[in-house]
Symmetry: C2
Subunit: 238 residues, 2 copies
DNA sequence: CACGATCGTGAATGCCGTTAACTGCTAACG
DNA sequence: CGTTAGCAGTTAACGGCATTCACGATCGTG
């Protein structure tokens, strides 16, 4: 059962997260220091150690929450569309991913940038890792749904290089779905192009050539649509 | 003319770079501090201010040098192949880019990760920016060469969305080449897929599914080859 | 030789994460 | 109700960080 103390504690943890998040947004990742968070909350830095074992642990908690928020955001976009219009759903989710990334570049950097910051953890089951896994699975389940309702051509198992086939099979087992390996392959190819392209844009690595990469992104969506046999759906807004 | 003092100074600058580079490789970007560099050189941190205006400036200098090295590395790969075999050249350069990235993940992170580190600079002409520009142009010139020697189908200007077409035209003017906009478009599409995919791999964002993304990379090369009408060339090593 | 530029030092400032000792408060128990 | 254990916060301190400043040494040039 949850005592009053527990509830107070949970509220404080939430306040710490929100404060950290606000500082992240307003001043960037390097400004998310224990002292800054505590200062904003009218406390001193060592007090935060009552709630998190270290600065890195706090960051990882924050990353987990942001993953969860992004997941919800994408599921929301998927639900805001006629439930059987898989093409509209695919385009809506992909565009929402990009829109969220552009609207939350600092958060996106924390989630999908180089992981070398204090958030690196390999062994134990991490809260952030768990949320990331759920995020990945959300995307995968959209794909699963798509494949089931509107099958698209995928390479046969024999046409996939053996080394890759083994890895796909292992991944398929990991996530516990029953799908042709070709579907898993196409999923990964699409995800790599989507996340790769969005990362380049958010991190500013397309600025050398493009002021506004949106039409480029739409072109990519059209190409992914061809792979998935989905008709292109122009963006709704604007 | 270069006095002896100038030469000594240049040698010190080089030693600082090399020390910083070594620390970057061995201990990661967060360990590249002025104190650490100075310590390794048997000096104290403030002395480094004689050579660089700030920690960020030193980092940007380092980034520039790494860009230059990567550029040379790619040009080397291009030259190590029969000069008229454009398909082999394309595959060699793309594979060398990935190989270099995997062999130098810390450096790659500095060059192509989220730029929010002390290296951010927008206004003045930065040494690092200059080197990055040269790097981009090297890649572009390979493409130019490819297009001239072995034209591939590209979309007509009228088939490119107007907004994108304008940006491509501006970029074409920037780099001062005379090419159909469709070639510029295909160049960017290929570059985005190449860098996007390699970034995901180097930053560990494919580990959720793949132990060894190499076959996935080769698949991407094959697809780029289709776009560019280049026959697939299997990797030479192994 | 003497002068001035250049290169390096040590001390100091104000950040940072983290630890340790200490002080209240408060909830639970006899 | 009084006592007590644990929780949440404090201050002080350590070592490390970038950066600034005043100072001294050194060296090439006039």
């Amino acid at each position: 059962m949850a005592t009053r103390r527990d509830r107070v504690r949970a509220a404080t943890v939430r306040e710490i997260s929100e404060t950290a998040r606000r500082i992240l947004i307003e001043q960037g990742p390097d400004a998310v220091t224990l002292r800054a968070i505590a200062r904003e909350m009218g406390m001193t830095a060592p007090a935060l150690y009552r709630y998190f074992g270290s600065h890195g642990e706090l960051l990882r908690h924050l990353i987990g929450e942001i993953f969860t928020e992004l997941t919800a955001e994408l599921m929301g976009a998927a639900k805001a569309v006629p439930p059987d219009d898989m093409s509209a759903k695919f385009h809506a989710v992909a565009r929402q991913f990009r829109r969220w990334a552009l609207a939350h570049p600092r958060e996106y950097g924390l989630l999908f940038g180089v992981p070398v910051r204090g958030a690196g953890h390999r062994g134990e089951t991490d809260f952030a890792q768990e949320c990331a896994r759920r995020f990945g699975w959300t995307f995968m389940s959209l794909f699963l749904d798509l494949w089931q309702k509107r099958p698209f051509p995928v390479p046969a198992d024999e046409d996939i290089p053996a080394h890759l086939r083994d890895q796909l099979a292992r991944y398929r087992t990991d996530i516990g779905v029953s799908l042709p390996l070709g579907v898993v392959l196409q999923f990964l190819k699409c995800w790599i192009r989507l996340q790769g392209g969005v990362s380049l844009e958010v991190f500013g690595h397309l600025e050398f050539a493009l002021d506004d990469p949106e039409p480029m992104f739409e072109l990519m969506l059209a190409e992914l649509g061809e792979i998935l046999h989905l008709p292109y759906v122009p963006p709704s807004g604007s």
